[in-house]
Subunit: 307 residues, 2 copies
C-alpha cells in the first residue's frame, strides 16, 4: 500500500448511522485521520507558524452511492471496509478519496483514483473530500476565514490525480448557477425557490471550536427538504426511504452564532421516471452565499398496494 | 478488573464533540459495547427468542460534570480515559456507569460504583445509563414499545449496586411532577411552561431502525432552550458557554415520523447566584408524555469588561 492510504474496518453503531449526517460526520473524521497519517501533521491540533489554530475545513464533499453501502441503509452491526487515500492539492489543500464496501467483498489494497472518477464498483459508497486549511481572520468571527496551513504540513510527496478532477472548477460553476447539474431538459421543475428561513441552531449546528460544523450543512439542507416534503403533501416513509445516488456540496462560508440561515430549494423530477429527483439547495446568510448543494435521489417506490 | 468492565482510551474528534449531543451519542455506543462485552449478546444485532429485533433502549441517562471533562468543553485532540461498568438490573434491563477522565490522571482500574453515587472525583464526567430491552409491539409503530430481552442475554453474573440507586423510582417521581428537582425555595422561576411545538425532524431525529434516537432528545430540549434564550433576549455566547453540572432524562416513550413534539420548558434561577439555573423540560406528543429532563448548568460569566 502507498504511504498516502489508510485502511480500516468499521462496525456501524447508532452514533454513526441514521437519516441525519452522522455517517458523513464519521467520514469527515476519517478524512482528518488520513491526512494526519499522510501529511506529518496532527490535524486535530494543527497550528500555523505563528501558533494560531488552523482547521482542515471542508470545501467540497461528494458522495456517490451505487448500491448496498448507502448512507441511509447502513444499520446497527453492519460491517464495512474503508479505504482512504490522500492526494496532492497544493500547499493549503488536500484531496481525500474514500471507498466504503461491505466487509470482505473488495480487496482493500486495490484502490485507484480512476475507480472513483470513472469506474465505480457496484455496492460501494465513494466519498470525495476536498479540504482547505483555514484560520479565523478575527477572533470570534466566522465570516472571512483565511487560508492558512500548519507549520508542519507535508504535501509534496503525495500522489496526484489529473487536474480536471479537482473540485474548485466544478464549484465555481455551481456557485454561479446554484446547481451542480446543468441543462437537464428531461427534468421538470416541481418547486422553485422555496425558502426556509431559520436561526442557526446552537444546540445542533456548531462544533466545539465555535464554527458551524461541516456535517450540519447536510442536516440543514435535509431538514429544509423535509419541510418542503410536507408542504407538497408527501409521505414520511417516502422521505425516509430515499436512496441517495449522488450528493455534492460546496462550502463557501461559515456562519456566526447569531446568524439566520436562508435555505432556498429547487426540486426537479425526471419526466419519465418520477421517482428520480434532483434537489438544489442554496444556503445564504443575509444574502451572503455559504453553501451550494445538489442531491440526486430516488424516492421509495410506494409499491403496488398503495395509491 | 472485573469481567463487567471495559476500559478504553479516546481522542476527541469532530464527530464526537460540539454543543449538540454527539458526545452523549458516543457514550451511548460505549454503553451498548460494554453490555455486549459483559452479557454475551451482541447488542447491535440482538434478537428475541422468536427472532424479532430487540433494542437496548435508553430509559434513563444521567450526566454529572464536576470539572475539566465537560461535554461542551471537550475539543479536537483532547485525550480521555473511559471506564465503563455494567451492573445487574433484572432480566430485561442493564445499568451501565461510565467515568471519563483526562488521559493519565486517574487509574482506570480503580473504579467503584460508590464513587459515582457519593464520592465523585473532581475533573471527571460521570454518566449513568439505565437501559431496557424493548421491541416493537406492531410493525411500523413506535408507540407502545414492549419489554423483550434477547435470547442470549446473560445477566445473573453481574455485580449489583444497592437498589436505592436504581433509576426507576427517581423517574416515577420526575414523571409525576415534571422535574427531577423538587422543593427548591432558593430558586426563582423566570419562565414557566414555555412551549415549543415542532414536527419530528426526520433529517435529524431518527436512527436507522426508524426509532427516534436517544441522543436526539437532548438536542430537542437544547434547541427549545435556545429558542427560549432568544425570547429572553439573551446572548449566544452565554448559551455556548453554559457549563452543565447535572443532566437527567427519563425516556418514557418514542415518536412516530409524523408526530409533532411539544417541548414545555420551565426555567429557574438561583436567588443569590443568578448564573446558576435549572431547566425542566417535558416532551409530549399529543398529550402523551415521551420524556422528562432536568438540567442544571451555570451560564458563562460575562466577565468584568462586559455589561
Amino acid at each position: 500500500m502507498n504511504h498516502n492510504t489508510v485502511i480500516r474496518q468499521a462496525t456501524v453503531t447508532p452514533s454513526m448511522s441514521g437519516f441525519n449526517a452522522q455517517l458523513y460526520a464519521r467520514i469527515g473524521d476519517w478524512t482528518w485521520d488520513a491526512v494526519s497519517s499522510a501529511c506529518s501533521t496532527d490535524v486535530l491540533t494543527a497550528r500555523t507558524v505563528s501558533g494560531d489554530p488552523t482547521y482542515l475545513a471542508f470545501y467540497y464533499f461528494h458522495a456517490q452511492c451505487t448500491g448496498a453501502v448507502h448512507p441511509h441503509r447502513l444499520s446497527f452491526g453492519d460491517r464495512i471496509d474503508v479505504v482512504s487515500g490522500v492526494f496532492a492539492a497544493g500547499g493549503d489543500s488536500t484531496l481525500t478519496l474514500h471507498r466504503l464496501s461491505p466487509a470482505g467483498t473488495v480487496d482493500p489494497t486495490a484502490f485507484h483514483w480512476r475507480e472513483f472518477y470513472g469506474e465505480p464498483r457496484p455496492d460501494c459508497l465513494y466519498v470525495e473530500n476536498f479540504n482547505r486549511w483555514v484560520a479565523r481572520s478575527a477572533a470570534d468571527r466566522n465570516h472571512g476565514l483565511e487560508r492558512s496551513s500548519p507549520h508542519d504540513f507535508a504535501h509534496e510527496h503525495l500522489p496526484t490525480v489529473p487536474r480536471q478532477y479537482y473540485a474548485p472548477r466544478l464549484c465555481v460553476a455551481a456557485r454561479s448557477s446554484g446547481t451542480f447539474r446543468h441543462h437537464e431538459p428531461d427534468h421538470l421543475t416541481i418547486a422553485r425557490g422555496y425558502t426556509v428561513r431559520r436561526p442557526v441552531d446552537l444546540a445542533r449546528d456548531f462544533n466545539p471550536v465555535g464554527l458551524m460544523y461541516f456535517a450540519s450543512y447536510f442536516s440543514v439542507v435535509d431538514s429544509a427538504l423535509w419541510e418542503l416534503w410536507r408542504v407538497l403533501g408527501r409521505d414520511s416513509s417516502a422521505f425516509l426511504g430515499r436512496r441517495i445516488e449522488d450528493q455534492k456540496i460546496n462550502y463557501v462560508g461559515n456562519a456566526d452564532p447569531d446568524d439566520t440561515l436562508d435555505v432556498t430549494l429547487t426540486l426537479r423530477q425526471h419526466r419519465t421516471d418520477p421517482l428520480g429527483e434532483v434537489l438544489d439547495a442554496v444556503v445564504r446568510v443575509e444574502g451572503r452565499l455559504i453553501a451550494v448543494s445538489t442531491v440526486s435521489y430516488r424516492r421509495a417506490d410506494p409499491g403496488p398496494d398503495r395509491p
